[in-house]
């Protein structure tokens, strides 16, 4: 995975009725915790995975988030929700 982006048709939104972040996809919804939503917001097909890890690390006082971010992106990729813009 070089430059992750959301699959075509996947849309992030905050649901004010349920008070939660969601990834809306054709005929489905993936409920997200706030951290996952932050990661996916950065998956724009421009940033590399390292850029995303770096951006979040800066946001959280230099915490090492590399494994968590990669794990999440890979899990989403396995479901076809995130794809590689470089591929």
């Amino acid at each position: 995975m070089t430059r992750p982006r959301l699959a075509i048709g996947a849309r992030l939104q905050y649901d004010e009725v349920r008070e939660e972040h969601q990834l809306l996809v054709p005929e489905g919804v993936v409920r997200l915790n706030a951290t996952a939503a932050e990661v996916l917001e950065l998956c724009d097909g421009e940033r590399s995975l390292d850029d995303i890890v770096g951006a979040l690390s800066d946001r959280y006082d230099g915490a090492d988030l590399g494994d968590d971010v990669r794990g999440l992106v890979q899990a989403m990729a396995d479901k076809g929700l995130v794809v590689d813009a470089a591929a």
């Binding site: 699959a7 075509i8 048709g9 996947a10 849309r11 939104q13 649901d15 009725v17 349920r18 969601q22 809306l24 996809v25 054709p26 005929e27 489905g28 919804v29 990729a77 396995d78 479901k79 076809g80």
Partner: protein, 365 residues
């Protein structure tokens, strides 16, 4: 009891359709006078806003053929403004460049194109009109315009043996999703049950083809494969439970818990012209009738598998049709005293002629 929140609204915009599929889920009396008076644009848009406020996330714009609604672009804008994820469920024959580009600009999120068979002639025979080439063009156009694409193929005795070609076609078209919907016996499919019911061997071969395809292709194409009820011995949670996750609005504005609910006598469906969606979902007798588990009879009431809140008693319309009581256990269930009728139905399959979907009096083709 805490009331459930709906997540899906199925908007049947019109029962008009250029196709005549013999398994259409629309009611068999689509020509009836009560369906003539379709909702106005502002009714739908107000309803979309009310749906979002209730918790609805997914909107299916379907029919009939939704492309026949002249205000479809305005409806897509209304859905986007309401914050709904909209899917167009189309036969594809009218999904041409100009309207498709307008729908994209209006914020339509997702396009689903049906095919009746991967074989052009067979497709046109099942659909009852010449449509295969237009469907393929529609699917390619959806891709070109960057819509996520779902291909839907309703499977039955007469096309199941072509399942490998269906899978390859979906891959070739660049579909993200392929819905292999084994026919469920509601609406017109009831009329054509004998001609549609597949054999167990066909289904087993189909299931194996899907397994191999998934192995070969991976998550690039998500394949949905649902076994038909009649080959199960535990019922499905029809619509995710009555009044539990989804609602259907008929072209005239009647709000129903499922597409076939109008076959159940004694239920009165409130209409969005006169009632708010919130009242209909939360307060109307029709939505409360089979909600939850309190209405259940034996054997559901003391289900030996404790599945009351997994399958919600199965399908009410099927219970009515096969057991003569909409409040009975779905006879698909092996604990139903009427399960033998399901077994008999799957053993009585035969090649037969189709009775095609028609709005005017039924014609035998």
């Amino acid at each position: 009891m805490q009331l459930p929140r709906p997540s899906t609204l199925i908007a049947e915009l019109s029962y008009q359709c250029p196709l005549h599929c013999p398994y259409c889920s629309n009611p068999t009396d689509i020509g009836a006078e009560r369906y003539h008076h379709e909702l106005e644009t502002e009714h739908w848009i107000r309803t979309f806003r009310q749906a979002r406020a209730l918790g609805v996330l997914q909107l299916a714009l379907t029919g009939g053929e939704p492309m026949l609604r002249r205000d479809l672009v305005a409806l897509c804008e209304g859905a986007r403004d309401a914050g709904l994820y909209s899917s167009l469920i189309t036969a594809g024959t009218l999904f041409t460049r100009e309207p498709a580009e307008a729908l994209k600009a209006a914020g339509l999120d997702h396009v689903q194109v049906s095919i009746q068979s991967p074989d052009p002639e067979e497709n046109d025979r099942i659909a009852g009109n010449r449509s295969f080439d237009k469907k393929i063009a529609a699917a390619r156009l959806a891709k070109e315009l960057d819509f996520p694409l779902t291909i839907n193929c309703v499977l039955h005795r007469q096309n199941l043996d072509r399942i490998d070609d269906v899978l390859d076609l979906a891959l070739d078209l660049g579909a993200q999703r392929l819905e292999l919907a084994n026919t469920q016996y509601y609406g017109w499919a009831v009329v054509n049950q004998d001609a549609l019911m597949p054999s167990r061997e066909q289904l087993q071969r189909g299931e194996e083809a899907v397994r191999l395809f998934r192995e070969r292709v991976g998550p690039k194409v998500q394949v949905l494969w649902v076994l038909p009820d009649f080959y199960e011995d535990l019922p499905k949670p029809c619509m995710g439970g009555w009044g539990n996750t989804a609602m259907v609005i008929a072209p005239n504005g009647d709000v129903m818990p499922c597409q076939a609910a109008s076959t159940i006598p004694g239920l009165e469906f409130a209409n969005v012209r006169r009632r708010s969606l919130e009242w209909i979902w939360n307060e109307s007798p029709a939505f409360g009738r089979f909600r939850g588990t309190d209405w259940m009879q034996e054997p559901c009431r003391t289900c030996p598998l404790g599945r009351q809140e997994l399958d919600w008693g199965g399908c009410r319309c099927q219970a009515l049709r096969l057991a003569g009581d909409a409040a009975a256990t779905d006879p698909v269930c092996r604990f139903s005293p009427h399960h033998d009728r399901v077994v008999a139905a799957r053993e009585s399959t035969q090649a037969g002629d189709f009775t095609y979907r028609a709005i005017k009096p039924t014609v035998r083709v």
